[in-house]
């Protein structure tokens, strides 16, 4: 446990010291959500209809971006081999790294989401809920993504493959999260949808590290 925790701390330090690499997905999130009015029209009504869904897709795609480097850098410079040789369970490593990356990138994404929500003509009173939904949803996206990240770690040009492998895993979170935002936009009851989103992330946290660890052990030997 303590070994996993030191990996977690190391990852956090790396994420925040690496010249703002962790902030790139946040920029992508803002830019891609800002494209919405040009695609669906600038009318308030059109934005309110399409906004929640587009925002959720933008969140999912922004969560995919850091996945390519999640394990790849550590595999290339031998850090993962050192971890494997140290006797620490690869599951703990996968959990620590994914969680650290989520804190470094996922939480900033969630902080930005109410801003984008209001830009897309969503009701400002719902900001807290949007933050919460994005927080929970990006956690699920990061953990399901970690399986794809681990599978593609040993490949050149693995980025596109991560998208192809991971997007099917995103479907339930996509449905539940977008339903939460949709319910919030229409003033409907959002609690059930939010809880289902949370259940998707809990399922991801509980299962994805095992899948990622299997894939990482393959990549190492």
């Amino acid at each position: 446990m303590s070994a996993s925790f030191s990996v977690f701390v190391r990852e956090l330090k790396l994420a925040w010291s690496g010249g703002g690499g962790a902030a790139l997905p946040v920029g992508f999130f803002a830019a891609s959500a800002s494209m919405t009015p040009f695609a669906v029209g600038a009318e308030t009504e059109a934005l309110q209809t399409a906004g929640p869904g587009v925002m959720w897709i933008a969140l999912a795609l922004s969560s995919l971006l850091p996945m390519e480097r999640l394990f790849q850098a550590d595999l290339e410079d031998g850090t993962l081999d050192a971890y494997a040789g140290s006797g620490v369970g690869m599951e703990g490593i996968a959990l620590a790294k994914t969680l650290a990356h989520w804190i470094a990138t996922g939480i900033p994404l969630a902080i930005l989401s109410p801003v984008l929500w209001i830009m897309l003509q969503g009701a400002p009173e719902q900001s807290g809920l949007i933050f919460l939904a994005s927080l929970v949803g990006s956690l699920a996206f990061f953990f399901f993504g970690s399986i794809g990240a681990a599978l593609a770690a040993g490949m050149r040009r693995g980025g596109l493959l991560i998208a192809l492998v991971t997007l099917p895993l995103y479907v339930p979170t996509m449905i539940f999260g977008a339903a939460t935002l949709d319910a919030a936009a229409n003033g409907a009851d959002w609690a059930g949808a939010l809880m289902l989103t949370a259940s998707a992330s809990l399922f991801g946290i509980a299962t994805a590290p095992f899948g990622a660890a299997m894939a990482l052990r393959t990549a190492i030997d």
Binding site: I147, L151, A152, G154, M155, R157, G158, L161, L164, V165, L167, P168, L169, V171, P172, I175, F176, A179, A193, L196, T207, G211, M214, A215, T218, A219
Partner: protein, 243 residues
Amino acid sequence: MAVMSFFHNPHRFMAGSKWPAWGFTLLGVVLIVVGFGIGFFRTPEDFQQDERARMMFVHVPAMWLCMFSYAFMVGASFISFVWRHALADVAAKSAAPIGAVFTAIGLMTGSIWGYTTWGTWWEWGDARLVSVLILFFIFLGYIAVWQAMETPQKAARAAAILCLVGAVNIPIIHFSVEWFASLHQQSTFMTTDNKTTAEFKIPMYLAALGYLALFGGVTLLNMRAEIMKTRADILLQRRQAAD
């Protein structure tokens, strides 16, 4: 178990699979021709759907076989993962493109059938349609993993993991789409009726058996090609090493 250890030796597999591979392929083609022939020309028109119901003979077996192919791949991946059975990797890899083709045929014919009967090409509220579409993407991802990895051993492990993860994922997607559909209060797209008569069943089963035999035959052919390719690679390496 005995069968598994028997085929652990590729030489034995190569010796035993030559005639079954071509036999099943031929049998599949014959059964499909006969099944489609009866279905298209002998079976009377359905009283509700007229000629369009004949789409069933192409569509329904394709849907069965796409699920069967994936189940086969899951089984093979499991064997490959647990016992590191070399031939199981090859089997799963060989079945993937065939499964993907069945899924594509099923999706396309289903879409055309849906348009002519219900007036819509696609219905997002239907859990079956959406899960099959996602299954198709998983097939593509699986094939892509095999092609992207540097060594076949690593590719086999990674692909097996993806296949098993997909097997967990498909039911979850099915239920989430059902929930999504009930949220949007759409009427169910398809209703299953059990009125299908023997005149429809016989050609459909014939076609399904034909698809199954074709699947078995082409999978075996693919496996043989794969093993021959591995042998050729090894021979090439030996020659290069000798030079």
